[in-house]
Amino acid sequence: MSGPGIAAYLVISALLFATGALGVLIRRSPLIILLALEIMLNAGNLALIAYSRHLGDGDGQIFALTVMVVAAAEAVVGLGLIVAISRLRMELDVDKLTSLRG
């Protein structure tokens, strides 16, 4: 395998995951939080595919494709929730959406 080894890909994946986690923690718009969640899922996918190449086993790629399907489903439901929230004229701010708080 030419180019950098698997460890380099895993480091990139960890940094990307931390970027997504930062987005979830720091932003208050649910739209941006969804985008940051996609970044975190993609970081996991990168690690899966790196290990798949490292072990020479295609199962990791199957797992990554399944994760992509779950990410698509999650984006659909999340965006549906955001549109429903905006129709209720509620503020799109996760710090102010507290009706489910016990």
Partner: protein
């Protein structure tokens, strides 16, 4: 040797684009620009997938994410208009600082654990055939070894589609809102 250098150049370019566009998604104040930065993020990720001999996943990544998910995000952002912008700076600074520290801690933690647990076993990768990661190979794995996952996946997509339609058409009573 020339090929090796070329691969390194492509890898460094893709990795830098990946990380900087990821930061751009998180830090842009305008959600429209965030969604556009996500496209750059996904494209450079697809380049990394290609370097890892995952051709089919790279193509599916560009189709599913850049083609479908990001377009859906852009539609919703356009539908919400100005209401999509919740400025990111509003939060308490202590909270932001703690978030940065926590994210940095996650990154360091993952890297250290990988280094400690698997560092010496990551140097040599297995040799793979040319067909590794090709659509034919993926199809064989999906329909022979992982048929259950394939079928469950279709049910998940169906439920998500139905849920999206229901969320989109229900207009609850406005007095249920607590603002």
């Amino acid at each position: 040797m020339a090929e090796e250098i070329l691969v390194w150049i492509v890898w460094v370019g893709a990795a830098l684009t990946l990380l900087s566009s990821g930061l751009a998604v998180v830090l842009f104040a305008n959600p429209f620009f965030s969604a556009l930065a996500l496209i750059a993020n996904l494209a450079s990720l697809a380049v990394l997938y290609l370097l890892l001999a995952a051709e089919f996943v790279a193509a599916a990544q560009v189709l599913v994410y850049a083609g479908a998910i990001v377009v859906m995000f852009l539609f919703v952002i356009a539908y919400l208009g100005g209401r999509a912008d919740t400025p990111w700076a509003g939060g308490p600074t202590l909270q932001s600082l703690a978030a940065v520290v926590a994210a940095g801690a996650i990154a360091v933690e993952i890297v250290v654990v990988i280094g400690l647990k698997a560092g010496d076993r990551l140097s040599e990768s297995a040799a793979v055939r040319d067909s590794f990661g090709s659509p034919a190979e993926i199809g064989r794995l999906f329909l022979a070894d992982h048929l259950l996952a394939f079928e469950v996946t279709s049910i998940v997509l169906l439920i998500a589609a139905v849920g999206g339609v229901i969320l989109g058409m229900t207009v609850p009573k406005p007095e249920a809102s607590d603002g």
